[in-house]
């Protein structure tokens, strides 16, 4: 049975067909109702704001598995909590000592039958949730069938940004940063690693996170299903700018361009192939006043860390653990500084003129460019679509 079929709703419908199931359902209903005050407080948070990074609106097969277990355990936990709280509250009210009653209650030391029952029931529940959970563990760690087309990307965490190297498929050889573009309905394997400390790449709507360990590589395989733009960020404490190590996942449709909603706005997403084609182009040589930006870019030693494919003198940097993001198509990205700022010339200028003011501890040094030069360079970088 696939996880998709076994939703809570399907389970409920199936139960409702049997008399015993109906009794169980009504008991569950009572239990959930008793837990409602707590749930309401929880939901109070939900109702006021949208949740763009909801962990339980999954857009991949892995996310669906996580969400399935969340719903299952949420209902189970709510039922158990409701029973415990109901018994507890009833006992507190019912067995309150009456004024003037100084007699001792019955001095019972326990009840073997009860003890056995309330050891057995949790044991059964634990077994019942552990077995499907083990299936889920192996399902989520599955490797894709090597005979089917798989898009493989090396994901490298660096203080404090993400580097993506496309290993195969139409996009083989692409190097991008912070924004991961993937085709929908395609088997994906990300190989997680790190160049410095431990990071964890987490896009909540996609599904689970995996640590990016230095000196280790671990695969994360999944199939994204819904085209769209999804925010995420590093989830493992990685130093001073841990909070500002954002990432975006852009799931492209395979065929034609579509329109999706992102942060309340309509955004067009081209097909994966056409995104790849655009990325494979070398950078356009700057013309007119933008040429000054390129010149400054080279003068201020930017190319010793940042590569721009196809422009003379800017593709000298050897890629290393300490090199910065590839800027060949930086103008086409939605955000800069690992999704910390919206990508526009003003923000680029702000970022490069004093990086540490945007991200504490940033590796790009302060004072490389004056605010004036920064504007010129920013205009050039923005043109690299």
């Amino acid at each position: 049975m696939s996880y998709r079929l076994l939703t809570i709703r399907a389970l409920r419908d199936r139960l409702a067909r049997h008399p015993a199931g109906r009794v169980a359902l009504s008991l569950l209903h009572v239990a959930v109702t008793a837990a409602l005050p707590l749930l309401l407080l929880w939901l109070a948070g939900c109702s006021t704001e949208p949740a763009p990074r909801d962990t339980h609106s999954p857009v991949s097969d892995n996310g669906e598995i996580s969400s399935f277990f969340y719903s299952l355990l949420l209902y189970l936990d709510a039922a158990i909590l409701a029973i415990v709280v109901a018994v507890w509250a009833y006992a507190l009210v019912k067995f309150k000592k009456q004024d003037g009653d100084d007699t001792l209650p019955e001095q019972s030391h326990g009840n073997m039958k009860l003890e056995v029952i309330w050891t057995a029931i949790p044991t059964l529940i634990v077994v019942a949730i552990t077995v499907p959970m083990l299936v889920g563990v192996f399902k989520m760690s599955k490797r894709h069938d090597p005979n089917q087309p798989v898009v493989e990307v090396d994901v490298t965490g660096k203080q404090w940004w993400w580097e993506f190297d496309y290993k195969n498929g139409v996009g083989a050889g692409l190097h991008t940063a912070n924004e991961l573009h993937l085709p929908a309905d395609t088997a994906i394997t990300l190989h997680m690693t790190s160049a410095d400390v431990i990071h964890a790449w987490w896009v909540p709507r996609l599904g689970g996170k995996r640590d990016a360990n230095p000196g280790r590589t671990y695969p994360m395989s999944f199939t994204p299903k819904v085209p769209g733009i999804y925010d995420g960020q590093c989830a493992e404490l990685c130093g001073s700018s841990h909070a500002l190590m954002g990432t975006k996942l852009i799931v492209h449709p395979i065929a034609a361009e579509i329109e999706v909603e992102y942060k309340g706005q309509k955004v067009k997403i081209e097909s994966y192939d056409s995104w790849v084609k655009a990325q494979q182009q070398p950078a356009k040589a700057p013309v007119a006043e933008l040429e000054k930006g390129l010149k400054l870019f080279k003068e201020r030693t930017c190319p010793s860390c940042h590569l721009i494919n196809g422009l003379e003198g800017t593709d000298v940097a050897a890629r290393s653990a300490s090199s910065g993001p590839n800027l060949t198509h930086v103008g086409s990205r939605m955000g800069i500084a690992a999704n910390t700022l919206v990508n526009n010339p003003e923000n680029i200028a702000k970022w490069i003129s004093k990086p540490s003011a945007v991200k504490p501890g940033a590796k790009m040094p302060d004072g490389l460019v004056t605010p004036e030069d920064a504007k010129t360079i920013a205009a050039f970088l923005s043109s690299l679509k």
């Binding site: 704001e49 962990t55 158990i80 003890e115 634990v126 671990y218």
Partner: protein, 613 residues
């Protein structure tokens, strides 16, 4: 009918003591009395609780709204690291040590612990450890690598200078805990009053026995991990050097092999306190006492086999994930048994609700919430989403604040009269209880929602459009309620010392031996060694003619341990060894301080074993 007044008839025992107790400050510096050491631990615990709370308050202010810059980057990480380190090692653990020191000997009818001077040594190493960790802010910066200290973020290349103070302080705390663990294992196993078989040992003392085993056996792995870190940072060893083939999983395994038993070290004593308080105010025995004890022992054992559930995202592979997920799920069973037994204790009782009881009963649902979200984390596929998110933060705060801390508060209100002879104000106590309960839920409940909304933990800022604004504001507001409640408690304690009502021997009409002696108890604890006939010796003394504890007519001859400077001397030596290693980073020649420390330890121990006690 017999009553506690009978015990006032007993003759005070005749002392044999090599050197009489001193007075004033010298008394507190040289004391080997488990009660005084307990008070020292407890006071230190409450002090650090306030500091750790203040740190939380500061970083919650930073998180109250999106895009703030009150504490950013390493400042924020330092506050978070110190909040957790302080709360776990410097607040909750010494509060537990306080109860353990003060009450374990009393509960088992002993005159002191097995090794009184070793006990004083544990206290001083704890004190020095706590001071070393906090000295980081004076001489350098707060350690900023998280309380989990994950390598390589904690190494010289990526970690800040505060991490040196962090490992140094933790090594001292580890020594303190291991020594105390051995001491109390022996005390509880060997020093019980006549007739107190293991099954008659009060549940709190039982839970203390379990955690002392956990301390003795779980601290060595983290000590080894910290030693590796110290060698990496100080002498250039390569344990965590990934460029040399070092594996970041090594630290995680060593840390969590300690870290998970540590979770039970924090919660089991509070379960013990609740198991003592509920029967007293329900007027009936603990339901299924043996089941409660055995489930605690079981949790302690299994606690050593579940550490990998902290590493589901680390990439251990599906087989390790599956094994650890399954063993973790098993922990739910004994935990459930305990909860049901507490409910069984309430059921059919005649309940009264002083503040100690309020905290004990609110422990049940609050801890249950934390336990149930723990069941979610045991589910590895789901944990891939919840790990390192605010959902986990909500989980462990329900367990540690709703569980451990509320249990300790219950213990404070329950035992304060015994320790000081004065009652705490019930009115102030109720204000504390309600403020704390409301504040706690206001702070930690929304964190479940934050986790579901994809907010990672330990981030110092967040964008306004991520959907995290309302929950964060609520969480920050709640901290003020908790802070107000805790301050009221501190005021209540200070005020009661002066103005509190006299408590008498047995203010709660309680069940166990500690209530048969005076409040506060004399240095020798009991005028005569009680003989124990049941698991509720004092209750049965009061209610069952046959089981009255006989009061001997003659004075007992007892030998009392003498005060000693030696524990302080040896602990100072240990401190110097550690300080020398820290100074080695400043100037290599200063390692001579370590040599001086080692000599102090050797000479101190020789004098220790030579001095008559």
């Amino acid at each position: 009918m017999a009553s506690v007044a009978d015990f006032a008839q007993a003759q005070a025992p005749v002392y044999h003591q090599e050197r009489p107790a001193k007075s004033g400050l010298v008394d507190w510096l040289t004391t080997v009395d488990h009660k005084k050491i307990g008070i020292l631990y407890g006071t230190a615990g409450v002090f650090w609780l306030l500091i750790g709370g203040l740190e939380a308050l500061l970083f919650r202010l930073q998180l109250a709204k999106p895009d703030q810059d009150l504490f950013i980057g390493t400042q924020y990480n330092g506050l978070v690291t110190m909040h957790a380190t302080t709360m776990v090692f410097l607040a909750v653990m010494p509060m537990i040590a306080g109860f353990s020191n003060y009450f374990v000997p009393l509960m088992i009818g002993a005159r002191d612990v097995a090794f009184p001077r070793l006990n004083a040594f544990s206290w001083y190493t704890f004190l020095f450890g706590s001071l070393v960790i906090n000295a980081s802010i004076v001489f350098a910066h707060f350690p900023a690598g998280g309380w989990t200290g994950y390598a390589p973020l904690s190494t010289r290349a990526y970690g800040n200078d505060g991490m040196d103070f962090w490992w140094a302080g933790l090594v001292l705390l580890a020594i303190s805990s291991m020594v105390a663990g051995v001491n109390f294992v022996v005390t509880i196993l060997n020093m019980r009053a006549p007739g107190m078989t293991l099954m008659r040992v009060p549940v709190l003392a039982w839970m203390m026995l379990v955690i002392q085993f956990l301390l003795a056996f779980s601290f060595p792995p983290i000590a080894v991990g910290l030693i590796f870190l110290a060698f990496d940072r100080t002498f250039g060893a390569v344990f965590y050097e990934t460029a040399m083939g070092g594996d970041p999983h090594l630290w995680q395994h060593l840390f969590w092999l300690f870290g998970h038993p540590e979770v039970y070290v924090l919660i089991l004593p509070s379960m013990g306190i609740v198991s003592e308080v509920l029967p007293v105010f329900a007027r009936r025995p603990l339901f299924g006492q043996h089941a409660v004890i055995f489930s605690g022992v079981f949790i302690g054992f299994v606690g050593f086999g579940v550490w990998g559930h902290h590493m589901f995202t680390a990439g251990m592979g599906p087989i390790a994930d599956a094994v650890f997920a399954a063993t973790t799920a098993v922990i739910a069973i004994p935990t459930g048994v305990k909860i049901f037994n507490w409910l069984g204790t309430l059921w059919g009782g005649k309940l009264t609700f002083p503040v100690a009881m309020l905290f004990a009963i609110s422990f049940i649902p609050m801890f249950t919430i934390g336990g149930l979200s723990g069941v979610m984390h045991a589910n590895a596929p789901l944990d891939l989403q919840q790990h390192d998110s605010y959902f986990v933060v909500a989980h462990f705060h329900y367990v540690l604040v709703g569980g451990a801390l509320q249990g300790l508060f219950s213990g404070i209100y329950f035992y304060f009269p015994k320790i000081t002879g004065k009652m705490l104000s019930e009115a102030l106590g109720k204000a504390h209880f309600w403020l704390f309960l409301i504040g706690m839920n206001m702070t930690f409940w929304p964190m479940h929602d934050l986790g579901n909304r994809g907010m990672p933990r330990r981030i110092y800022t967040y964008p306004a459009d991520a959907g995290w604004n309302f929950d964060n504001l609520l969480a920050t507001a709640g901290v003020f309620f908790m802070a107000a409640g805790t301050l009221i408690m501190v005021y209540n304690m200070l005020n009661s010392l002066k103005n509190g009502k006299e408590a008498g021997r047995d203010p709660w009409d309680a069940n166990t031996l500690e209530w048969m002696t005076t409040s506060p108890p004399p240095a020798h604890n009991f005028d005569f060694t009680p003989v124990v006939f049941s698991e509720r010796p004092l209750f049965d003394h009061k209610h069952t003619e046959d089981l009255a504890i006989p009061v001997p007519s003659e004075a007992e001859q007892i030998h009392m341990p003498s005060p000693s400077w030696k524990p302080l001397v040896v602990a100072t030596g240990a401190l110097l060894i550690i300080v020398g290693l820290l100074l080695f980073n400043v100037a290599p020649l200063l390692w001579l301080v370590s040599v001086a420390g080692a000599l102090t330890v050797v000479v101190g121990i020789y004098q220790w074993v030579s001095e008559p006690v």
